[in-house]
């Protein structure tokens, strides 16, 4: 199978959907001729023109609000907030408007809107360009939260996100954007709420998301040589969450480590740990461990960022602790 980059996979899905629906548009600053802050939109401006691939002022509230207003009046929108750190600027539009329209108005108006954003550090970008705020959006009923870890998943989940009649927070990772992987040329969609077992194993379950899936896989391969068999489960979407696959895996291995790049405290890992405590307590042979960022903003110099963000060594240590 051909291999393309994560960002190309996203673009491919967006382009295919835009060809199908003349009322689907993409809006953000830099999304047009510039090709997107993260080079995701690329040549879409030249393919679809100014109205469909729209450069916006740096006005996060108006960008998301514009997407909502268009979405409830006959269009569909993808709006890009290039860094998740900027999402607080438009969190009101996301949490108070997009998430609540359908419920508040008793089903009169749904909001087919994709908010495309990026998470994550390991790029020496400092405190305001490195955060993982997925727990913020996963906490709001009415939103769906998607965070693919591979080019293959990125394409399939983007198709699903655009076709979904609800607001979807689609979170890519800056380190994953240039990553290449096998991606079918034909169109396919991956249902939300369907976790993927990235590697099968029998001794311990690692539930990991986004970039940390790859860190976890590296650790799993390393431990394999010692005869430790690690299963890596990638939920792919936090809302809806595929509890079944996670529970089945943990019931099989009896041990669980939850890994995410976000801060441990208040992170989505706590939610997964609670699901395990509620529904798999009797199967557990060790306490559930969480691995994530330490309790400080993310500094930029490598020695500090590496000390704060979860590393392979942290994941390995946690796995050894539960074995």
């Amino acid at each position: 199978m051909r291999e393309i980059m994560y960002r190309e996979a996203l673009r491919e899905a967006m382009a295919a959907e835009m060809k199908k629906d003349p009322y689907l548009f993409l809006m953000a600053y830099d999304v047009g001729k510039y090709g997107g802050e993260h080079r995701i939109s690329g040549n879409l401006y030249h393919m679809f023109g100014d109205l469909r691939v729209k450069d916006a002022p740096i006005s996060e509230q108006a960008i998301v609000g514009c997407g909502i207003g268009a979405a409830v009046t006959g269009c569909r929108a993808i709006v890009e907030i290039p860094f998740m750190d900027f999402m607080p600027l438009c969190m009101d539009m996301i949490a108070n408007q997009a998430a609540k329209f359908y419920h508040t108005f008793g089903g009169q108006m749904n909001v087919p809107l994709v908010v495309l954003t990026s998470m994550g550090g390991y790029i020496r970008a400092a405190q305001q360009h490195s955060q993982c705020l997925e727990a913020w959006v996963a906490h709001v009923p009415g939103l769906k939260t998607v965070m693919p870890s591979t080019p293959h998943d990125a394409k399939g989940l983007m198709h699903t996100a655009i076709q979904d009649p609800n607001p979807v927070i689609f979170i890519e990772h800056k380190r994953l954007l240039p990553m290449k992987g096998p991606v079918p040329e034909e169109e396919y969609s991956i249902p939300f709420g369907q976790a993927d077992i990235k590697k099968e194993g029998k001794d311990v379950t690692v539930v990991a998301t986004s970039f940390t899936v790859h860190l976890s896989l590296n650790v799993a391969r390393k431990l394999e040589k010692e005869g430790i068999s690690v299963e890596v489960v990638d939920p792919r979407t936090l809302v809806p969450l595929d509890k079944r696959t996670i529970l089945d895996s943990v019931k099989k291995t009896s041990r669980a480590v939850i890994v995410h790049e976000a801060h441990v405290t208040g992170g989505f890992g706590g939610e997964i740990a609670a699901v395990l405590a509620d529904e798999a307590f009797g199967y557990l042979k060790a306490p559930v461990k969480r691995v994530g960022a330490k309790w400080t903003p993310i500094p930029f110099p490598s020695q500090q960022e590496d000390a704060v963000l979860p590393q392979e060594a942290d994941i390995e240590r946690a796995i050894r602790e539960v074995l």
Binding site: Y23, G65, G69, T73, C75, F101, G107, Q108, M109, P165
Partner: protein, 324 residues
């Protein structure tokens, strides 16, 4: 003040009818709310009737409006149904939003009313989006965004006007300038309160400062803006000076002195308009009484309908979280 005789007689009737529909609905709502018949909070449009009516008389059912926490008047002016509205305010299953959202979130998508909104200033970006949608779909619709003077100090005001202006979107921004930002006197936090329309200059679009108590002036000014918008010439900002007769919400402590409240209630768009109609021989005292009685009957029926409707069932709270 312009002679009403210059206007089509039917239009004058609709102005009167429209303002009375809001006035009587809100007076009734105030009464039943204070009697403890409803839960929650309710913000009344009393005093500001001329703005919603004057603006919406320029619109077709296909056009859109966005609204505020004080949204009953906008809903009625756009053609809202008394029964479904009242049932919503009573939290009944027959309500416009299934009785789950109440006064703060009255909405009717079928008449282009995109929702009363509990967040001050949030209607503006949504209105811009509806305007963008009109551009993309290539129709001749327009959007009117209603918001208060308080909302002009939100970031959304700046972001929305700049965006709509940059792209010549068909949005009319209508400020309902009652001089109050919730419980704060806006003058104390805004130097240009009386001339908020002048802020349009910052975005390179036309801005007007008008008497929002004169339904004819609102109708004419917004009409011109609607024409501009339909012609693809972009947005307009219309600052309508008005008076809020009641507090921020019913049962609220009014930040104004009793004298200021009395003064505000002395400015009465409905009474003024009726006086003009009488002076120009366009209606009789008897005619006014009959119209009021006819509308009041409809509202009373709506109240009875709401009272007789089943309460929104608890289990319905979980419905419509996600669309299928």
């Amino acid at each position: 003040m312009e002679s009403l005789k210059k206007l089509d007689k039917d239009l004058v009737e609709r102005m009167h009818e429209g303002m009375l529909r809001i006035r009587l609905f809100e007076e009734t709502q105030s009464r039943v709310f204070k009697a403890g018949e409803q839960e929650g909070f309710t913000h009344l449009y009393l005093g500001e009737e001329a703005i919603a009516v004057g603006a919406c008389l320029n619109l077709t059912p296909d056009d859109f409006i966005t609204s505020t926490h004080r949204g009953h008047g906008h809903m009625i002016a756009k053609g809202g149904d008394f029964k479904k509205m009242m049932a919503e305010l009573y939290g009944r299953r027959t309500g416009q939003c299934l009785g789950r959202s109440g006064s703060l979130h009255i909405a009717d998508r079928s008449i282009g009313m995109l929702g009363a909104n509990g967040i001050v200033g949030d209607g503006n970006p949504i209105a811009v989006g509806a305007g963008y949608s009109i551009r993309l779909r290539g129709t001749k619709q327009v959007v009117v965004s209603f918001f208060g003077d308080g909302a002009t100090n939100q970031g959304t005001f700046h972001e929305s006007l700049n965006m709509a202006a940059s792209w010549d979107l068909p949005v009319i921004f209508v400020i309902e300038n009652n001089g109050l930002s919730c419980g704060t006197i806006t003058e104390s936090v805004c130097r240009v309160l009386n001339n908020l329309g002048d802020r349009a200059a910052a975005y390179g679009i036309p801005g007007e400062n008008i008497d929002g108590m004169d339904v004819v002036q609102v109708y004419r000014t917004v009409g011109k803006a609607v024409e501009r918008a339909r012609a693809g010439e972009g947005p307009t900002l219309v600052n309508c000076k008005t008076y809020r007769h009641h507090g921020h919400f019913e049962g609220d402590v009014d930040v104004r002195s009793p004298e200021q409240v009395k003064e505000a209630r002395g400015h009465d768009a409905v009474a003024d308009f009726e006086r003009r109609m009488l002076q120009e021989g366009l209606i009789t005292e008897q005619g006014i009484r009959e119209r009021r009685q006819r509308i009041q009957r409809l509202i009373d029926e709506a109240v009875e309908y709401a009272r007789g409707s089943p309460r929104a069932p608890a289990e319905d709270a979980m419905k419509f979280v996600y669309a299928e």
